[in-house]
């Protein structure tokens, strides 16, 4: 939940999923928490008013990193994505509608401005040139995205420009270059009144500037890529170690299962422990286990499973940093889970945790034999001392609902004080 997760530094990125031109507007909108249409409209309005918007857009496009860095998905998901077993998130048609409308509005406004001011001489070459540059930069983006997905690791200059090819990339580069050349041509024709020497000078200068503009993004991104590539190498080595460890543990488990193939209880316990191990590695968020409430509850579930051979399914909504204040909740949960595993006589315990900004609640439920709360001896520590009294001592509440044959549900609730959360 919003207030309770540890802080991360948020960086604005360009959005490569819902982009119209370069994903600057939608990336910015996400960063600032504004509707994307507003941002796009702002850029368009600013573009009409003297072209500032275009300059801003181009500048941000150049400087903002893309969000399609090395995907930080869990390995199982990343692999499923690579092998085409998951849907690719493409651009949604619904997003195009407003953009088309905005573009039409913008072009209309441009014509209006031109009709009033009559700046056609500089305006059209400029627009055509900008269009060309935009196309080239767009291609630089595509090529960069390809490079991230490319596992060969070598930088081939042709691939660096065209990515894996395809008519779209060639067309983008060709059209971009043609547009820029046309713009330069138009410009020098309009300026035909200058002397020939001046014309040549201008042309040469424009050529150099054009070249710099064309190559600039690639050089800039190449440098950025190299730095990230280094980071990724470190990470992939860690992953390789982890994979080796896991394969190793799977082999051990299989060996154990073969040895115990007669004992179904042991076999299923082994299989479950291994399954949990693999599942958490493949599909879970790589959050450190013992620093958050949910992480701790999951490890309680795993412990109980190993000790008592009971499936403990932990479902959570939200999460919080594990503070001293939440510690009693964790301990009470452990007691409740262990009670259920030991006494309920069922193979499954459901744990549901809901963390909001104000309180954390945990429900531990089993469908076992239940008991009559009246018959529990007062000297028995379990329920009274470890759960109810402990929660009350620390400002929380605990309630046990049970009846013989009905199963048991323990409801725990602990308020979260705001000050402790915001440090």
């Amino acid at each position: 939940m919003s207030t309770t997760t540890p802080h991360e530094i948020r960086r604005a990125t360009r959005d490569t999923q819902q982009l119209i031109i370069g994903g600057v507007a939608s990336g910015l909108a996400r960063h600032l928490g504004l509707p994307v249409v507003w941002v796009r409209a702002a850029f368009l309005v600013a573009s009409v008013l003297g072209g500032v918007g275009i300059a801003y857009y181009a500048g941000l496009w150049l400087l903002l990193p893309t969000d399609s860095r090395f995907a930080s998905d869990a390995p199982g998901l990343a692999s499923a994505t690579r092998t085409g077993k998951r849907p690719r998130t493409g651009r949604r048609i619904t997003d195009v509608g407003p953009a088309v409308a905005l573009a039409a509005l913008g072009i209309g406004l441009l014509f209006a401005v031109e009709a009033v001011v009559g700046q056609g001489a500089v305006f059209w070459p400029l627009m055509i040139g900008l269009g060309g540059i935009a196309l080239l930069w767009r291609q630089a983006d595509e090529a960069q995205r390809e490079r991230w997905l490319d596992s060969t690791g070598r930088l081939d200059p042709v691939r660096a420009i065209f990515g894996s090819g395809g008519w779209a990339s060639y067309a983008r580069v060709a059209a971009g270059l043609v547009l820029i050349v046309v713009a330069l041509g138009l410009f020098s024709v309009r300026k035909g009144s200058f002397s020939v020497a001046g014309e040549v000078l201008v042309a040469a200068l424009l050529g150099i500037v054009g070249l710099a503009i064309v190559i600039g993004p690639w050089v800039h991104r190449l440098a950025a890529d190299l730095a990230s590539e280094r980071a990724e190498r470190v990470r992939s080595q860690e992953r390789a170690d982890m994979a080796a460890h896991l394969h190793d543990s799977v082999l051990q488990t299989l060996a154990l299962i073969q040895k115990n193939s007669g004992d179904s209880a042991t076999v299923s316990k082994l299989a479950r422990a291994q399954e949990r191990d693999l599942r958490s590695w493949l599909y879970d968020d790589p959050a450190p286990a013992d620093t958050t409430l949910i992480g701790e509850l999951k490890s309680i579930g795993a412990e109980a499973d190993e000790a008592h051979g009971v499936v403990v399914d932990v479902v959570s909504v939200g999460d919080a940093v594990l503070t001293e204040q939440l510690r009693p909740l964790v301990l009470a949960t452990r007691e409740a889970v262990n009670n259920a595993a030991r006494h309920a006589g069922t193979a499954r315990v459901d744990v549901y945790a809901e963390v909001s900004a104000r309180r954390a609640e945990v429900f531990v439920r089993d469908r076992g034999q239940g008991f009559d709360p009246g018959t529990i001896a007062t000297d028995r520590q379990g329920v009274r001392g470890s759960i109810i009294d402990r929660m009350q001592r620390h400002g929380g509440t605990a309630e046990v609902r049970t009846a013989p044959g009905e199963g048991t549900e323990v409801r725990l609730s602990m308020p979260i004080s705001q000050e402790e959360n915001h440090d």
Binding site: L77, A80, R86, Y283, D285, D313, Y352
Partner: protein, 214 residues
């Protein structure tokens, strides 16, 4: 209903298909009509056999289970997602793609048969985990100017039902706890499913990615 439910099993692991088939084959109320191993064969099988219920793996060569639902365009066919992946993104994505429910592959045979029957009857199947995801997805306060307010939030009752499901209650127990009929519980579940599929909240699609960053 006396006819057995006609089921298509879609999964890229042959061993898993064989396991499910073996588990379902002994039961009179289920008739496994075909198997498929990727999006292409699954779409073909759906068109050919028109099964009542498709057991659909979420991770499937050719674009994932969502792609099967998108391409086959058979409104009569109901889908039940069955996956080893617990990733929120996959689960919500599949439900939004049109699946009537989601269960993990560790589900027992009896539970699977019940889930199939429920999906065939047009009801929704929520596992505790899916209910948790739903609550998470609809949790944030809704600041964004919503296109359709009603679709973008759960009613208190629906939220209550979801919480009970997340806590491991069976439909029957939910009904008893809230003093309502099972039919009403099923109506609430179907409504939640519909909201999940039709809600226009754009965060919902991003929610799974962003929820740790917010």
């Amino acid at each position: 209903m006396t006819d057995p439910t006609r089921v298509l099993i879609v999964d890229d692991h042959a061993m898993f298909r064989a396991g499910v088939r073996a588990e379902l084959s002994g039961r009179r109320e289920i008739d496994v009509v075909a198997e498929a191993e990727d999006v292409e064969t699954a779409v073909a099988a759906v068109r050919e056999h028109r099964p009542d219920v498709v057991l659909l793996d979420v991770h499937l060569p050719g674009g994932g289970g969502v792609e099967v639902m998108r391409q086959s365009r058979e409104p009569e066919v109901k889908y039940l997602a069955l996956s080893v992946s617990d990733a929120a993104e996959d689960v919500i994505g599949t439900i939004r793609g049109g699946a009537r429910g989601y269960v993990t592959k560790t589900i027992t045979g009896d539970e699977l048969v019940r889930a199939i029957a429920r999906v065939r009857d047009g009801d929704a199947v929520f596992s505790p985990r899916l209910a948790g995801f739903v609550l998470d997805a609809f949790a944030g306060s809704i600041d964004v100017a919503a296109v359709d307010e009603d679709l973008d939030r759960l009613t208190d009752r629906e939220r209550e039902v979801m919480r009970l499901i997340a806590r491991g209650y069976a439909y029957k127990e939910v009904a008893k706890e809230l003093f309502i009929s099972i039919k009403t519980v099923e109506t609430h579940m179907s409504n939640v499913l519909r909201k999940l599929q039709l809600s226009s909240r754009h965060e919902l699609t991003r929610w799974a990615n962003d929820r740790r960053l917010l």
